[in-house]
Point group: D2
Chain length 474, copies 4
């Protein structure tokens, strides 16, 4: 059975995916999910395709085949190999799907590598994480995570909101495990995933100890509800080439006194330990490296679409158009260079693994959240109202008024069908709800830019700068 077929089988597991007021009986056949389910299965099948298998998988120490996101970078070449493999993966969705892309699988791999970091505080952590890593890797499982508290009042802590259980909190402990109640946001892609890891993404205070818990559950775990936002999926493949295939979905997790078995409770009542492992430099470097690979795919795609838009209406001779296209190209080129630079400047970590250079990666992330919205703006500027002028469906080009519409919609370099397809694609990227969600995603997936910039400041090694500048008085 192919990886994709196995995935489709696994989805029949009774997960509680709520949409439009009810639980979706089977996401494989529901219009809001089926297109994306098919895409995920197809991407997983890249692991079995002879053209791509060697790129997107590797052989584990026990002789099995595993996804490249689980590869431990024991040599510098392993980093390049991860990069190439993850790129194939990202290119398959033009960077539009982030969680299938391997972000949390990579994060888990990093936690596994660094697992002894917090063993003093959390003695069972190393073994539990190692087991969990082997489990998801060897079963080819897809993993996402959720970690933000509900956005109720940003001036208050979780326990100051009147109700103790808005954010996920331990209710009680039993012999089998812990019982948790409350919500976590946003589990991107959760309805399509096998596993969800839950832990606070911001640092918890000493007063919030019972919120400081890190655990994993299958998406179908009893007591776990996945509250979906409205679906952005379309059934019209021709008219909405992205929305019909790549609506990753975002879900709020509600834990209704869910029992988490001990082997999946990685950390408990320990804000420091969670912060320690989450802010571990190696883990950030490896997981964000995956992210930048995906960002490059996406910027490559927007650059291509922008270029085609310009060709299709014959505007490339204009200086202001060339300037805008050049900007799309240099966006892509600078992210690519930062990625390459992170890889070439990787260093050998005391744990015997290779760590991509963090600074170029953080730079790419912070540039990225300015680049992507600007790329969309450029696509708008290149197309003008053109994206709005298309017939409601491509099929109309062959309908009763077809012969007239074909004349009206042809482009400078292509026929009407190719041109309308391009405009539909552009609109799906720029003007659809999926597109708008992606703009928000790129701005915020790594946290509020105000904080991610502060983070770059805090992390930056300023000493070399200052020393060199100090020679000025020499």
């Amino acid at each position: 059975m192919s990886s994709g077929a196995a995935y489709l089988n696994r989805l029949n597991d009774g997960r509680r995916v709520w949409l439009d007021g009810a639980i979706v009986p089977d996401i494989r056949s529901h219009p809001a999910f089926q297109g994306t389910v098919r895409s995920v299965a197809a991407i997983l099948d890249l692991q079995d395709d002879t053209d791509t298998e060697s790129q997107v998988t590797f052989t584990t120490d026990t002789g099995g085949k595993a996804n490249i996101a689980y590869l431990i970078p024991e040599t510098k070449e392993d980093l390049f190999r991860r990069s190439r493999g993850l790129q194939v993966w990202s290119d398959a969705t033009f960077g539009v799907m982030s969680r299938v892309g391997g972000f949390y699988r990579t994060q888990l791999t990093a936690w596994h590598i660094s697992r002894h970091l917090i063993e003093r505080e959390q003695p069972y952590f190393p073994q539990k994480i190692a087991d969990y890593y082997a489990f998801v890797r060897d079963n080819d499982l897809l993993v996402t995570a959720a970690g933000h508290d509900p956005q109720i009042d940003r001036t208050k802590l979780a326990h100051e909101l009147g109700d103790l259980y808005t954010a996920v909190r331990i209710v009680r402990e039993t012999q089998e495990g812990i019982v948790v109640r409350g919500a976590k946001m946003i589990a991107t892609g959760a309805p399509y995933m096998d596993e969800i890891i839950v832990s606070p993404h911001s640092k918890k205070t000493g007063d919030e100890q019972r919120y400081a818990v890190m655990f994993a559950v299958p998406a179908s775990h009893p007591g776990v509800h996945l509250i979906c936002r409205e679906s952005f999926a379309s059934q019209q493949k021709d008219d909405h080439p992205l929305s019909s295939r790549f609506d990753e979905m975002d879900a709020v997790l509600v834990f209704d006194d869910a029992l988490i078995p001990w082997e999946r409770v990685f950390i408990k009542d320990d804000p420091e330990a969670i912060w320690h492992i989450r802010s571990d430099r190696f883990g950030r470097a490896l997981s964000l490296h995956e992210n930048i690979v995906r960002l490059a795919s996406k910027l490559e795609f927007t650059a291509a679409v922008g270029t085609e838009l310009a060709y299709s209406i014959g505007i490339t001779p204009f200086a202001h158009v060339q300037e805008k296209l050049a900007e799309l190209y240099y966006q892509l080129e600078s992210i690519r260079a930062l990625l390459l630079s992170a890889e070439h400047q990787a260093t050998l970590h005391p744990l015997g693994v290779w760590e991509p250079a963090l600074e170029p990666i953080i730079t790419a992330k912070n540039l990225g959240n300015r680049f992507y919205p600007r790329a969309l703006e450029i696509l708008q500027q290149l197309s003008g109202a053109g994206m709005l002028q298309v017939p409601s469906t491509i099929a109309e080009l062959n309908g009763p008024l077809g012969s007239q519409l074909q004349k009206v919609y042809r482009g400078a370099d292509r026929g009407s069908e190719e041109r309308v397809k391009l405009l539909k694609l552009s609109w799906d990227l720029v003007g659809s709800r999926l597109g708008a969600r992606h703009e928000l995603y790129e701005r915020f997936y790594a946290g509020d830019p105000v904080r991610t910039y502060a983070g770059q400041y805090a992390d930056y090694d300023k000493q070399p700068l200052l020393e060199k500048a100090a020679r000025r008085s020499g």
Copy 2:
């Protein structure tokens, strides 16, 4: 019968509105149109509502009641009166609907006022326009226009594209009128309008004489097809408060050898005359004045939504939030000031009418196409991913998981229902296809910014500047 009821009656006229491959039998009952139809009718009823009647209408010279957009500004106070009336009109849709707002009704009023401008070249123009003006005014008709040629190859003129009839062109003349063939873009709001005025928006060359025609047709005129883009309308009033009511629709007009009767053929075979009347300063000033009234409504709305978003999650104490809100306020205030300034600086035109000062209006327009996209960006920054975290329908707050969702979604200053409504509204403004269309609209409705800036340069009276600066050497 109220104005709205009369409007609903008129819509039953066999117009050929194409959507999804077929003609819509009756837009009043079709899901893609009915919400907006209802909104238009309700807005028209403002003309009969005792609270607003005196603001949005005036008494014509023949004693009838007419929409304020048709008011000829014979006194300076008339300009202020127009401004107040058009504001009521715009506020009713938060500035989201532009053509109901009165842009082309105002343009027509201006052409009527300036009708003798081209009587040497087009001797029948003055009488035809005067009759048409009286006709639409006295019958309370809604008017839009279309003027762009299909966007095929911007390096070529209309007659150089191989096929002579991509853009609207005269095929032949008969005793009854002219027969036209070809397309015009974009007739914003056309499916909802009574009348459509067609004429080239850019200057035609001498080689394109047969394209230089200006005429008007009812939306239901034989041989006229309205090709709609995909519908952005929603049926869910609670979840999509804007998309369910204000999808103005954009349509491409296809003329299939339509016969235009002589009384509606205002200009023929005369690029100069069309350009002359279209670029008349008075007409630009009066019609763009209406536009800026609407822009102010819209910016007021985005400022309000931004303010509420910030209140609702308790982020107003943060400096970067205050900075962003201040920017929304100064956007609004500067547009308001420009509007007021245009009115206070109005001058008496030789024709005996008052002309709003053009420079502040052009400034407002050019600032506006930078302000609005920035306002949307600020809304994204204030909300972060919050807009994506809402349940798929508001109804879920009272569904099976209601009690838990109500806890999760309440805000710092309001309950969950009010908060989710606000987030749904914000998303409808920022993330829906309607919202994306509005971003494009504000950027481009007045033409490519590259050209509108060039226009401001060309028009600007530089002499006073230069003279004052010349004193530097003194």
Copy 3:
């Protein structure tokens, strides 16, 4: 004796102006100051020039002639009259000199009007301020102010810095008055002024009571030292048309146990009273109104220079040039509109004076600190390296290589001398230290933008916005 001549006489008063390590014996004949002294005298003479006298002065209640900045706006027309008069004043220096322009004279006028505001806390304030207002008005005195504490450590208050006397603080009180020690920044233009008003510009805490003092001193007061920054003045009138005439100078005031007589001690030991009078809405509105008049002068000048630069090398046909010039024009037009709008929307204050609308003024200020740096950037973009290519002195055009240089430096529309003069002027505006100081000034004169934006947020009347938007659910 003319106003200017009287001014020159007054300057011979023993003021302690420190430059390059020594006290300047007489600024009227010192190269760093004499050019500006001449400019100030010339501007004052506008009060006696028959062309301008009626615009820049008014007749006081005692029949004397006084500068327009001292006019109390008892009618709405008085506001327009102030505006016109202050514009003449600002235009005389192209907006480049801010303190001669009347900012603090206006502020003092406002304090005089609002003097009873704090009479409960500071019973002598009303009479002292009234006397001082009459004194400076009737003697045609120039006034500046200083109010910032030394910028040592922004995380600490004045009394937490180890030394109590870095910022101005009361040392002791005597029968004659108070003795103060410490520094205040930045007294813009102080070496050229008659009077300096000292008071904290930010709100002092209860712990800083002895710093909460407001007083006035002549610039030559014993114990007062004016520590100048380096001079930006040039002796070359032809080559540096601005720097040779308009270096306003900035000075740090050092009080070396200076005795301030009681009649000039307006407020003492009272943080609240100082904050109350300083933040009084009327005072802010009237004084910032003067500022916006000056800002408009400056933007008019940059727009003129940009236009000439473009003409002089024949680049106006290029679209990107037109776009940049249009931006200069709309900067100017929007500030002008905000100014006009503030005047037209002025309201009658309970004190019987007319208050310009604050919101447009604050908007103009906050737009202004973004506009001016952008205007300079546009001048750079228009000129390119041209500003750097000029001979070191204009005289060289008539020197040994003159005939060759005249050929090389002529422009598209003017001879070499006119063109080089224009380039020299542009460089003086953009590239000189005076120019760089002005960029800093426009960014910061009204405080750190982070705070001025927060201020606009705090002040803004949000209620009308929210009420109108609330109708959305209707």
Copy 4:
């Protein structure tokens, strides 16, 4: 004799450097030049300093020692070696001096490598360039260039300006060589250089054949005049640490019927050949590579200064400060990554040399002309008016008011002297004429951004983009 001493000797050569209307007798002792002369000599001495000699020089095939800029990259390691050596060179002036940095020496090295490219059209070119390369390399000569025509009217070609000899043009040919007349702009650094290469920087048309000449002259060549802009040099080392040492000077070259001997006339009457060699991809890649090394030095310096400014007044805890510092860091990091990426992706050229990847280099250049002005803006925002509040000379801290000034000027983390030095340095970078010239330089050195962006568009290999995106329909 050290390299620096040899340089000083060579300067005594009768060059006609015009400043303030006269020829400077000896730039080594003239206040406008001596500081920079000393800096250049000191930098040249790095070639003899045991710490740096091996980095900044290499051994030629004839066993001599030569500057690293002349190294032919025969291995990939040679590229890294060039990069390291040029960085030492750039760091010595914090990237502030561009022509000493090796730009044109590198360009010449590239022309030498590619010399056979145009041998069909210009058969003597290969040998002449090879000889010239060996000559300058082996004599350790400094080289600059000039290539822009006088900026008279950008809508006209050189021969359409009435006078044929505004731009350099051949007057006649003799047995000894060609006689040229006219001007070229801007020979950056020319007064300090040994050699100047002259050729048109933009493509000449067939009608401008006599302008299409490429030749080299010593800076002291008879008939060659160097017309300097005004000097930005300061004599105050402490108060102007950059302006006192690094005023590179810009000069317009005027050729007064200068005779250029045949061996230095590389190309003649051949627009195509000049364009061919100038636009050769390898030459652009190698010479711009040098530029990016320098840009990184400069951004490192601005980042260091920004960091120190923030530390010195205790503002690093503020989020908006951290955001700005982060931006300085990511500017630097992205340029570094692009540089590294260009080196790692270098390819073997058919000529047997290694070519740095051009795309990352062009990207760095185009980002750079947006980054540097923004870096200066950030320095302004961090310092606020602080940079203006310093005493006119540092010496005043130890003058009559010293004890009081020392209190006022100390910082959060340093004493008053260190703090004032930092502020003086910042102001020299941001507010001096040298600083303003650098902003212009970074914006324009590589040409008008409108054109450099168009260039990136034109060069970009779009095929891979389009092919990958084409799979979307698959």
